[in-house]
Assembly symmetry: C2
Homo-oligomer: 161 residues x 2
DNA sequence: CTTCGGCTGGTCAATCTGTGCAATCGGTAG
DNA sequence: CTACCGATTGCACAGATTGACCAGCCGAAG
């Protein structure tokens, strides 16, 4: 377990912030904007990615713009004798399931699901509950995105020691 | 809806998949792996980003590894006379709020919140409900991440017409 | 005082990028 | 059938960037 969290300093935060704003700029340009040596930027980025604090620089696909305009959160209640892992394996096979977590409270698993339409969402949910390990699904549809997923404010907050 | 979604073809999907696997490779390397001309890759990427299907290539920060090991989903019930926007503005000021959506069902807003610990989560929630427009918060803590956020399977599914 | 790790500023060859261009291909409209 | 259109290809160029080095500087720790 790499539960060792990294303590970010101000340079790290600015680095991430700049990179988030203009992801395609290179190490050299970053060093210029931050007024530090290029090697320093490289070293910091290497450290952050090596320790896992930065998972990657993958393309952020917007599901709504590739045909999946409906987003929902679905809470699942599972049969205890089927493990979480078995259910997770089933969910992983469904591309519309973007993420899944085990949770506290009334429900066992919370997952994020997208679909092409409300009717299509029904199809996806049917596919999910078709698995015998899942007893019941409770669906919440997201109407509007008030705050899109973000982490920049968090990185700034993380530097206050 | 108003936003016409982009219909991905197989090349787009492979492009995204490759880029997701090795985000730091350049256009030239992509063109070699996909056995197409460099200009084609550039044109495809430009098109995808221009139409918004790819939001960006920002660094994916893992909150758990910069000190925020607790993740939770919080459902908010708001006073009707305060608009969603006012509440959204309040939430946006709290760095631990990673995203927020208006939702159907019993609750008005669902947001994703991280914190340094369970005690720290209490502090964040207090900060949230301290705003008068918010009447009540219902908190669900995520225990384990069964499926980390992903979109690659979705892009593949999006190509099947 | 000495060692150590991090940062700086510089060099080098190799590679990649942005940008044009003409030619080719496939499908479509007339 | 033929002309046209967008997409793709292959190629070229100058300029920028990268990865790899290295010597020197500095503050903190021993």
């Amino acid at each position: 377990m790499t539960e060792h969290s990294v303590q970010l300093d101000e340079l790290d935060a600015k680095l991430i912030e700049l990179l988030a704003a203009e992801p395609r700029i290179g190490v050299l340009e970053l060093s210029r904007r931050l007024a530090v040596a290029r090697g320093t930027v490289q070293a910091r980025l290497d450290k952050l990615t090596a320790r896992g604090a930065i998972k990657g620089f993958g393309p952020e696909v917007v599901p709504a713009l590739i045909g999946f305009g409906v987003m929902s959160f679905v809470t699942l209640e599972i049969s205890q004798r089927y493990g979480h892992d078995a259910v997770a394996g089933h969910l992983a096979e469904i591309p519309e399931v973007l993420e899944a977590h085990t949770i506290t409270g009334s429900g066992d698993i919370l997952c994020r699901i997208v679909a092409r339409s409300n009717a299509d969402l029904q199809r996806v949910i049917d596919q999910i509950v078709g698995y015998e390990g899942i007893r019941r699904a409770h669906t919440i549809i997201a109407l509007a995105e008030l705050i899109p997923y973000r982490t920049v404010p968090l990185t700034k907050a993380a530097t206050r020691i």
